[in-house]
Every structure is written in C-alpha cells, then in structure tokens.
C-alpha cells in the first residue's frame, strides 16, 4: 500500500514536471550518445504512427542509454517533419519516424522539397498497421469473391469507403477493381474512424481500413473479409490475406525510422542495432499488440530495397488509376 502511494505520488509529480518541461525545452550540447535523441513524428499525438514510435522509443532508450524524445511536427501529410529533419545537423540527435507511404506515396502525389529515395538514410522498418477490408455485420458477403461477384452483377452500384485518395487502403481496392475489371464508386474519407462510422451507418457497402477496424471486428459490429499483411494476423487467424485471395497486393505502408542521408555510417549502424534489439523486446511487442499494430523487422538495407521496389509499383498504380500523370517529386 505504502509503495503504491509513493508510486502514485511519483506519477503526479512527473505529470507536473512534464507539463512544465513541454512548455519550453531545448537540447543541450554534448557528444554522441551523451544527450537525449529527438525523434520527429509527422503526425499528431495519439495516432498510430505516434503511438508506435513512442512504443519503440521506450524500449530503445533503455538500450541506447539516453532518453528518446518524441516531437510531433504534424503537417503536409507527414512531410513537414521529414523536411524539418533535413534542416538539422546530421549528428544522430535528430531522427524521424515516418510511414513509408509518406516517402514513396504522398511524395508522388504532392511535390515535396526532398528526394524521397536519396535524401534519407533508412535505419529500420519496425511496424505496420493492420489493414483490411470490412463489411457491416448484416452484410451477406463472406469473402472478397462475394463482393466481386456482386460488383459484376451490378456494375457501378456498389460503393466503398477508404481512408483517403491515393492511400494504401485505396490502392488495395483498386488492385481488385483493376484485376477483375469492376466498376465501383470510391468514397474517400479522412482516416479510418470517419470511414468506419459511415460503414456502421450503412452509408457505404464496404470499407478498406487501417488498425481502427480491429475493435469493431472483435465486438461483432463488422466482419473482416481480408487483411493486407504478408502473413495472416494472429488476431484473426481465420481471415485470409489479399495475396491468398489471389490479388497481388501487400501493405506498402511500413512505419520506419530514418536519418538524414549524410548521417555518419557508424552512428547509423549503432542506431540500427539498438532499434533492432528494441523491436524484439517483450515490452515493445506487447505495446504494439495493444494498439493493434503488427511488428515487422526490416533492416537498413532491406528497407532501402523495399522503398525502391514499392516506389515503382506505386507509381505504376497511381498513373493507371488516373490520379497523377507522373510523380510530383523526382525520387533521386
């Protein structure tokens, strides 16, 4: 009881100190790795990118021996943080946690002031959202083929919600549409929550969503027809992947840590080793599981390759779907 109370008091004091610190703090000057490392996140706090980065940071700071501070810099669909990273010294004290989609998908649609494939040094790919296609629980469809059959019978009548134009969730449905030569109406929403709300209200026929779909599937409000990871999700072992259902699509939005391209190789290596170790810790895996994220592990080289392969794939798809004529940013 006594111990409990003290811990309780610590939390409260910590709360107040944190609060004061956030109002004005700046890094001090010292040598690597002797002061806290800042990781920029291009999205608002509380979102899946932010929470995943914080989970990784909590485990990695124990290995690195220095605190890791998450600094949210939302804006420009995640590109403001990447641009901000390039204005910092390449001393290993400022890194950026970003979804690969910002590097290779967003930058093809919008012009960005960096070269997506060469301005950054990929350090690790550490997590991905659980993407999937869901229908409302009263829908007659049991699998993707049911949707395809219905869409063939009623061309132009079915509509579906995604988390945004040109997003990975949109690309997944487009893959089906193109492969089976279907006609369906795309209704883009801003994020998974809006799209899920619309699905539950019966305003759209099915939805392609990110991790926010998990609670609704578990509570029986929706039914999951397919996921988009490489492997089946341990949460839903009975649900096939899109690949198993016969479509050439695997989630290309992997959450990663990148540094500036001219980050000294020995620092990059040190960080890569520390982060890789962190991704295997029990604490990290548990945190990810709670926020319904899927752990992945790409090392620096693998992730670089991943970006290059998917840049081309995405480029082909965006042009084919008429969204762009050519990439808005040169890749290198």
């Amino acid at each position: 009881m006594k111990k409990n109370n003290r811990r309780f008091l610590m939390v409260i004091i910590g709360t107040i100190i944190m609060f004061v610190l956030v109002l004005g703090s700046g890094p001090a000057i010292a040598e690597y790795p002797e002061r806290p490392v800042t990781v920029l996140v291009g999205f608002a706090p509380g979102g899946s990118m932010d929470l995943s980065a914080r989970a990784l940071a909590r485990s990695a700071e124990k290995i690195l021996g220095q605190p890791i501070i998450i600094e949210n810099k939302p804006g420009g669909t995640g590109t403001v943080a990447l641009a901000a990273l390039l204005s910092q010294n390449p001393d290993g004290y400022t890194l950026c946690a970003t979804p690969s989609s910002v590097l290779i998908r967003v930058s093809q649609i919008q012009h960005v002031p960096f070269k997506p494939l060469t301005s950054f040094k990929p350090i690790i790919g550490f997590a991905e959202p659980l993407l999937g296609i869901v229908v409302k629980n009263d829908s007659p469809w049991k699998n993707i083929q049911d949707i395809v059959n219905d869409a063939k019978k009623n061309p132009g009548m079915l509509n579906y919600a995604t988390t945004g134009v040109g997003s990975t969730t949109h690309a997944a449905v487009d893959e089906i549409v193109v492969a089976k030569k279907l006609q369906m109406i795309h209704v883009p929403y801003k994020g998974s929550v809006e799209a899920l709300t619309s699905l539950l209200g019966g305003h759209v026929d099915f939805a392609s969503l990110t991790s926010e779909l998990v609670p609704s599937v578990k509570s029986g409000q929706t039914r999951l027809l397919a996921t988009m990871s490489k492997k089946r999700s341990p949460k839903f072992p009975a649900v096939p992947t899109l690949k198993e259902a016969g479509y050439d699509f695997v989630n290309d939005a992997v959450f990663s840590i990148v540094g500036p391209a001219n980050l000294p190789p020995e620092l990059a290596k040190k960080l890569e080793v520390a982060f890789a170790k962190a991704t295997k810790s029990k604490e990290y895996l548990e945190s990810l599981d709670r926020i319904d994220m899927v752990p992945v592990n790409y090392n620096s080289k693998e992730f670089d390759k991943f970006l290059r392969i998917n840049w081309k794939k995405i480029n082909k798809h965006l042009i084919a779907s008429g969204l762009i004529k050519e990439a808005a940013t040169l890749p290198e």
Binding site: F8, T15, I109, L200, H203, G220
Partner: protein, 500 residues
Amino acid sequence: MDTLQGLLYGFSVALQPNNLFLVFVGCLLGTLVGVLPGIGPVAAISILLPLTFQLTPAGSIIMLAGIYYGVMYGGSTTSILVNVPGETASVVTCMDGYQMARQGRAGSALGIAAFGSFIAGTIGLIGLQFISGPLSSVALKFGPPEYFAIILLGFIFISYLSHGSMLKAGMMAFLGLILSSVGLDPITAQQRMTFGILNLYEGIGIAPLAMGLFGVAEVFNSLEKTTSTKILKVKIKNLFPTKLDWLQSKWAILRGTIIGFFLGILPGGGPVLSTFIAYGVEKRVAKNPERFGKGAIEGVASPESANNSATSTSFIPLLTLGIPPNVVLAVLYGAFLIHGVVPGPLLIKEHPDVFWGLLGSMYIGNVMLLILNLPLIPLWVQVLRIPDRVLYPLILLFCVIGAYSINNNVFDIVVMIIFGIAGYLFKKFGYEAAPLILCFVLGPMFEVNLRRSLLISQGSFSIFFTRPIALVAIVVCFALLLFNIYSAYAGKSRPEIESE
C-alpha cells in the same frame, strides 16, 4: 446491473481517494490548459498519456477525461477577459464576453459561464447515462447527405453572427470559405492554393487563425490608444452574476444545453459547431437582438453551456460504438487501447469499472470544476487591473507561445501574426471576424459531405430530398430564409438588415 446501480458502483470507483485525486488533477490541468491560448486538450492529453501507464485503467481514463471537460470550463476565461479564445470552442464567447468585461461585468460573464457549464455538463451526463444507446444509433443515421443538410442550416446562422452590414458579413463569410479551401482537395488529393508551401498542404490551422483575428488584432488595436491612458478604467461592478443576469440567461443556458446535447453526439459536429449555433439561436429568439455583440449575457451563457453539454455527450459514440467523434476523443481512444480497454459496445460488460467509474467521475468533476472556478473569478478579474502597457505585451507573448506549441512549428506564429494584422484592418473598416470563422469551420465539412453525397448518388441531387433527416433540415433552412425575407419586407426588419 441497471443504470442506477451502475452509477452507484461508478461513484464507489470514482470516490476512491486515488481516483478522486486524479479527477482533481485532471480538472485543474484542464482549466489551466483552457486558460492558456493555443495549447489545447489534444496536446495536453497526449503529453500526459505516457505518465498514466503506471495507473489503473480507470484512474488514467478518469484523469485524462477530466482534462478534456476541464478545458471547456477554462476556455472561456481568456475569451472574456482579453478577447483571446483559449480554445476553438470559446471563439464565440469573445463576442459578448469581452464586451461585458469592458463594461465592468467580467465577474458576471465568468460566473454565468461557470454556472452554465456546470448545469449543461451535468444535463449532458444524465443523457449519456440514460439514453446513450438510442442516441448512438441516431448518430449513425447521419451519412454525408445528412451532414450536408445540417451544415447548410449552420450557414443560415451567419446572419445572426454579425451586427453590422449584411453585405460585409457575407464578404467575410466567403473569405472564410476561400481560406478553408486551402490545402489538399478532400476528394482528389490535389493541392489548392498552397503555392508550393509545405506547411499549407494540410490547410490553415483554426487555432492560429482565431488567435490572430481576435487576440493579436486586439493587441494591435490597443497600440492606437496609447495617448488615452488617462481615461478612467472601467470600474468592476460585481464579481458574481446578479439576479438580473440570472433572469436573462436561464433560458439561454437551457437552450444552449439542448443544442450542445444533440450536436455533441454527431461525429465531426461537436462542441465548436454547437457554440455557433447556440449563439445564433439566442440572437434569433431575443426580443432585442441589437444588444448582441455589445455585452449581452445570453451570448456568453448559451455557447458556454452548449460546448459543455456537447463535451459530455461526445463521449456517447466513443463509449457505445467505439467511434471517437473528434480529435480529442481520438487521443483518449488511444489511451483506452494502451490500457488494454477497448471502447465500444462491449465496454460496459468487459470493464464496468472503467465505464461507470468514468461516468461517476464526470459528475464529481463537474462539481469540482465549479468549486475550483468560482473562487478564481475575483482573481481573474484582477487581470483587468493590469496596466495596458504590461497586459498587451503579455497577451502577445502567450499567443506566440500558444501558436508555436500546437505543431511545434514557427509557421503557425507567422499565420497568427498575418491574421492579427488582417483582423486589425477588418476591425478598423467595420468587418466582423465571426462569420469568417464560422465559415472557416464549416467550409471543409460542407464541401466534403456535398461531394461525398453526390459520389454516392452518382451526381443526382435527389439524395438530399429522399432522406428524411436531410429533407427536414433543408426545409427548415428554406423556411428560415423565407421568414427572414418576409420579416424584412413586413417592416419588422432584423437589426443587421436595417442598419445598412
């Protein structure tokens, strides 16, 4: 467990000493965050999130929720005292609250805001407790066409938000719409009016815009008055609402509560929209609407009640459907998940301590906020005694810190200053900022829901007339417009029409 038993159980959870203390910390921090401009509940909750890992799920949710509704209490303070909205949901409060303060009635305004918030928050909670089930199914009925129609109704209220020329109000409304369309096209993801500036890709932020148009503009305005420092400062008349204040605002509080109650349930609607509608309704039903904008107490009571009851009811979609209806609750949703609690239809069965404990704590928190805020009023009123040459630089300083803290980005400060200059000029030439802000808030929702509706209906406008909720809202819109035109012709003209 029926509802009353549940509530008793909830109180037993919330009244445990640790949890009671957490309610207090949450409410206190919320009030602080509400008072400071810029720093909103989203930032506060996410900063404190990692520190709650040590607490029980119920305890941490109780504290974080306390911050959210505490902010809605505190947000009005700076609106009233210095014309700087502490929170987007308090922008409307600036219009009459600040005027009241300048007439020496800051105490009345702060008091009525606190009492109104308490009454509305509690009524909202009762709704949350007893009829959250049916209400959440109503919320789901709102698809794109229904939102479109409701927002159309919101636009009708532009005319009630101005007290000068209708033409000027219209111009400001259109400027608001244009500004709101900066950024990514919501349907095709093309950039609009971003001029290659990365920081504009997601549009202009509402917080720097509102802080600029109100707070910073007020600072610039004060520069003109340096010669008149000898003018006697207004005497502070009373510290708490008088009997007359109560008489004038009791129905306003109730109306605000009801408006907030229903708009709070709608995902995306929420507290901000409800304040504008509540203000408009007050002006519509007032016997002498010309008092509005010159310190009408109803103009403070109603919106402040609306945003608090909306805050209470916005928990309904989160707790019953697992849908966070706004950004703050999305962060709170993350907090639930981190503690292994999944909000949604199963919450009440799987984690009764969290569900009922949260509800019980919100009742307690509302009382606590009232007790916390009333003694502060005499203290706040002292702010007005600070000499202008000290007060205004301080306001500017807080605005700059606040703007930066939203995204940790200097660009937001630039935006705020630009709109500060614009706001100063608007004021000088008699253009009011309120219609601009309303349209800035509504514009993107209006556009995206119109376009989504037409996507669903494949271009046919019949979708707005074949769905009952949408149809009713559109009929009400036309009725209101026709009534306004009629009353203008019948000589019973409305003030904003007659003044030009």
